[in-house]
Amino acid sequence: MTIWVRASVNGQLREAEVWEGTSLLGMLRDELELPGSKNACEEGECGSCSVWLDGDLVCSCLVLAAQADGRDVRTVESLGTGEDLHPVQRAFVDAGAVQCGFCTPGLIVAVTDLLDREPSPSDARIREALAGNLCRCTGYEKILDAARLASGRVEASGDRP
């Protein structure tokens, strides 16, 4: 059985016909051609599928597509493009926080969410905020660097990210 889901995705009204058990992650990746949100565990342990649902950070693998109906979804693809990177994306590139990159979109969403709420977090706060994002390549050192770097640049420019 299939259902129709209509939602605002990255500022555009999108709709898709999906199997009723489809997760929001599955709809984004397979129906809306937004594969930036990643499918590392699909059980809410790794954070690689992190998106905003009505402004709240969620694991899109734990949200049914049907639950997103009529709501506002923002993914990593909303943040920046190759020509115009978001400061957090820029910081990940500059700090060397990317290796295989599979965790990267989820971490970028999580760091952006943190800095939106708290532009100058302590290291402890960064760690706490990113505790739900698994990375297998970097050992997290350069991810911490990236979060600090993005925060510092935001402070220096006086802008919010």
Binding site: R136, Y140, L149
Partner: protein
């Protein structure tokens, strides 16, 4: 935040834009930004699981629930009748060879008459929706006659054990005898050590897309580690000539050895050729745990003898590793484990016996560290025991025994290249230790166990531990190891010089493509470097494994660039009428004589200049009957010091700091090297404290990220990296591979620190809270098992020989090299 270096602000050349990028700033030795960084941070980088094609079907694998069973029959009627199902295939539907394998062709494409492990593929389904495929797979009714599984590696050695394969249960036995193994010593220490089954847990699950072609062949887009060896295994099973099987690299979400073996490759190709439709197979996390090989669990009996000054006199080692149901790379892992079993120390007399066995446990194969990680845990525990027995400082003991250039391994191999073991040790211990902090009153997340610590900081003990280890670079044991690359220098419509590189070398996340880009910029100074997508249309680059691609494909790219440069300069000489005596150089897009520009490269790169080069390291040898020979080509060394805190009431651990010193030859991209050390150390933290696939009666009990824990950002301490640059002769730029070594030493260093904090022996990793609290009964010392009665020193028949059925396995000649 203060004190954060802004790399973009300080790194020369770290600017955006590809056209006319600064030429010098991206050369080797610079922390150039990753060339795949922007697509990865914006989410547009395409991994295997992101691939789609028009009319695509979804494949699903039916897997054995039993570790050992005979298949009496398979009823596929209900599955095939499921609406939306397009194909269902079993072993009899495999058109070509029924078996494949990295080193021995012993693994069925689909199970034939028996299954040998839980998770073994039995049938495959293609359907129009993943959910349809899942339901159909559940409807495949396999009639199993359940057999008694062989699940203990020591039991596998017994002559009475039921053989899993016609060749018996011994996969390989390596015997090394060096000097006089009966030589007496003043002091002896002995220990029995065990390591668990670690999983690579790459975040990107196994995935790929097979597209049938009009010529009867197939194009497979897959996240893998070695395209050409994949093809060599796939084509015979499909009954196709190699040229009709084209492998294209999909984005790889980490590998760490888990993608060396085939996983979904053949199944997707079979279904695509059967249905005439593109077929995607994308494992979920549970299936990923079942669908790739793991790190071999090991048991290690070690006996070290030394004189009163602490100099090693004699070392006896008995190793046993569990290969599981199929060979994978077990024969190479046991060779590595055996040759590194004594550590990077001068050992005049030794007897080492290593055996890899078949069991009905999940197949084990390559994981970062590849045998060296397991033995390092043992030999470093032994060095600490020896230090305690002799009353010598553990670091001093290691310095007294450290190998140096000109020294010999127990295989008799003399170290001819760089071997800065003592320097690595000294640089590691010179890193300042963080001062002790009061435990009471801390933010709870700074306590051992973090927010899970229900105390307030009572009973916290600090410990410090140290370990040093080593491993080979590239392939060994007589394997003909090479990498090919092609470089074309041309000019685009804006008169910018462009270097195009064709290489089948796989970027798994380690940063190889950025290194190749840096090498091209260094050698040719092109305005733009383009790396063509890796595929099998050109020559093989070998595997992104064994810390080898920087030297192998880096070497091939460098050689091809130099060939192109020489031809360019010859052309310039010709055009300008210069004699052969004038020394021409290439710098900044110009041809120079003694620093003065005489020509623009762009004026002379039409028609384009193309060169193909193959890099081969010098040949290695196999083992002789006493395990002697130049088995390896080169080595790198590493040391780590761990500072830990243990909550002695709760058995919880906080790692305070890791100091990591590594022999890197030359750091071509220092930030990327540090990233490798930090990442490998994190996997070592996991192996030391939490990561183990728990296999109960042959079945993995924790095949999920809920139950198989890998370190989070809360678990990781600061890692202070010290890079020791002592260039290796004969390697491009003197650079050594850097991917594995921190994972060799980190578990040993961390457990040494835990022993220091608790006073407990801790003979097994991962260490659990019960072990730290003394609640688990330590396994007592017992004698090692007898050596198997088999022809030993079986050579490793790697690559391209994966087509014969297992019953005709070439077991090699005794003593063959």
């Amino acid at each position: 935040m203060t004190g954060v270096r802004d790399p973009a602000a300080t790194d020369a050349g770290a600017v955006t834009g590809t056209r006319a990028a600064p030429r010098i700033g991206h050369g080797v030795g610079i922390s150039a930004p990753r060339i795949d960084g922007v697509p990865k941070v914006t989410g547009v980088f395409r991994y295997g699981s992101d691939l789609r094609a028009e009319g695509m079907l979804h494949g699903r694998t039916v897997r054995s629930p039993h570790p050992s069973a005979r298949i009496r029959g398979i009823d596929v009627a209900a599955a095939l009748a499921t609406p939306g199902v397009h194909a269902l295939m079993v072993a009899d539907d495999v058109p070509g060879a029924r078996r494949y394998g990295l080193e021995l062709p012993d693994q069925p494409v689909l199970a034939e008459d028996v299954v040998r492990y839980v998770g073994e593929p039995v049938a495959i389904v293609a359907a129009d929706h993943p959910e349809t495929a899942r339901i159909a797979a559940e409807r495949v009714a396999v009639d199993y006659e359940i057999l008694e599984p062989l699940v203990d590696m020591e039991a596998a050695l017994e002559a009475s054990s039921t053989p899993l394969h016609p060749t018996g249960n011994v996969l390989r036995h390596v015997h090394i005898e060096h000097g006089d193994p009966d030589a007496p010593a003043d002091v002896w220490v002995e220990g029995l050590y065990e390591t668990g089954m670690q999983d690579q847990a790459a975040l990107g699950p196994e995935a790929g897309l097979a597209i049938p072609a009009e010529d009867g062949g197939v194009d497979l887009h897959v996240a893998t580690q070695w395209l050409h060896l994949d093809r060599a295994q796939i084509a015979p099973c499909l009954g196709l000539p190699e040229e009709l099987v084209r492998i294209h690299l999909a984005g790889v979400g980490g590998a760490f050895g888990s993608r060396e073996d085939l996983h979904m490759h053949l199944h997707a190709c079979l279904l695509a050729l059967r249905t005439g439709r593109p077929v995607r197979i994308a494992y979920d996390r549970h299936e990923s745990f079942l669908g790739h090989v793991h790190r071999h669990p090991a048991r290690m009996w070690m006996r070290h003898g030394a004189d009163r000054d602490g100099r090693l006199v004699n070392v006896h080692v008995r190793l046993l590793i569990d290969g599981g149901a199929y060979a994978s790379s077990s024969t190479a892992v046991i060779a590595n484990a055996s040759t590194f079993a004594c550590g990077p120390y001068a050992v005049p007399n030794a007897r080492i016996d290593g055996t890899a066995v078949y069991t009905n446990n999940p197949p084990c194969g390559a994981m970062r560290g590849f045998g060296a990680t397991q033995v390092c845990f043992g030999h470093e525990a032994q060095m600490d025991r020896l230090a305690a027995a002799l009353g010598i400082d553990p670091v001093e003991l290691r310095l007294r025994n450290a190998l140096a250039p000109g020294g010999a391994l127990p295989t008799g191999q003399v170290l001819r290249g760089s071997a800065p073991v003592a320097e690595v040790i000294r640089r590691c211990v010179a890193v300042p230790e963080p001062p002790a902090e009061p435990a009471m009153g801390r933010d709870p997340i700074e306590l051992p166990g973090g927010a899970g610590n229900v105390g307030r900081g009572e009973g916290i003990r600090r410990g410090v531990g140290f370990a040093v280890g080593f491993k080979n670079l590239a392939y060994s044991d007589g394997f003909d190891d090479g990498a090919e690359a092609t470089v074309e220098l041309t000019v685009d419509e804006d008169r910018a010089t462009v270097a195009r590189v064709r290489s089948a070398a796989v970027e798994v996340g380690q940063g190889l493509t950025t290194i190749l880009d840096q090498i091209v910029r260094t050698e040719l100074g092109a305005d733009r470097v383009e790396l063509l997508p890796p595929d099998t249309s050109g020559g093989s680059a070998g595997s992104s494994s064994a810390s080898r691609q920087t030297m192998m494909s880096g070497g091939a790219v460098q050689a091809a660039c130099r060939d192109v440069r020489d031809r360019l300069l010859a052309r310039v000489r010709d055009v300008l009428g210069l004699g052969a005596t004038e020394a021409l150089e290439l710098a900044g897009g110009r041809v120079m004589i003694e620093g003065a520009p005489i020509a623009e490269v762009a004026d002379h790169a039409v028609p384009s200049l193309v060169a193909t080069a193959t890099f081969r390291h010098r040949p290695t040898a196999g083992f002789d009957p006493l395990g002697q020979g130049d088995i390896h080509v080169a080595f790198a060394f590493a040391a780590e010091r761990a500072v830990v805190e243990v909550d002695e009431e709760l058995g919880l651990v906080r790692i305070v700091q890791i100091a990591a010193a590594q022999d890197v030859g030359r750091a071509l991209n220092p930030r990327a090297v540090a990233g490798q050390i930090e990442g490998a150390t994190a996997q070592g933290v996991g192996f030391a404290l939490m990561e183990e696939l728990r296999v109960v009666d042959g079945a993995i009990a924790n095949a999920s990220f809920t139950d198989y824990l890998i370190p989070t950002i809360m678990d990781m301490p600061p890692v202070v990296s010290e890079l020791i640059e002592d260039p290796e002769p004969d390697l491009p730029f003197g650079a050594k591979g850097v991917g594995e070594h921190a994972l060799i030493v980190a578990p040993a260093a961390i457990v040494a620190a835990l022993r220091d904090a608790t006073g407990r022996e801790l003979h097994r990793i991962p260490v659990r809270p019960d072990d730290l609290l003394g609640l688990a009964t330590p396994r007592p010392w017992r004698a090692p098992p007898a050596n198997p009665d088999v022809p030993f020193q079986v050579p490793v028949p790697l690559a391209g020989r994966a087509t014969e059925p297992a019953t005709e396995l070439d077991r090699g000649r005794p003593g063959a090299g």
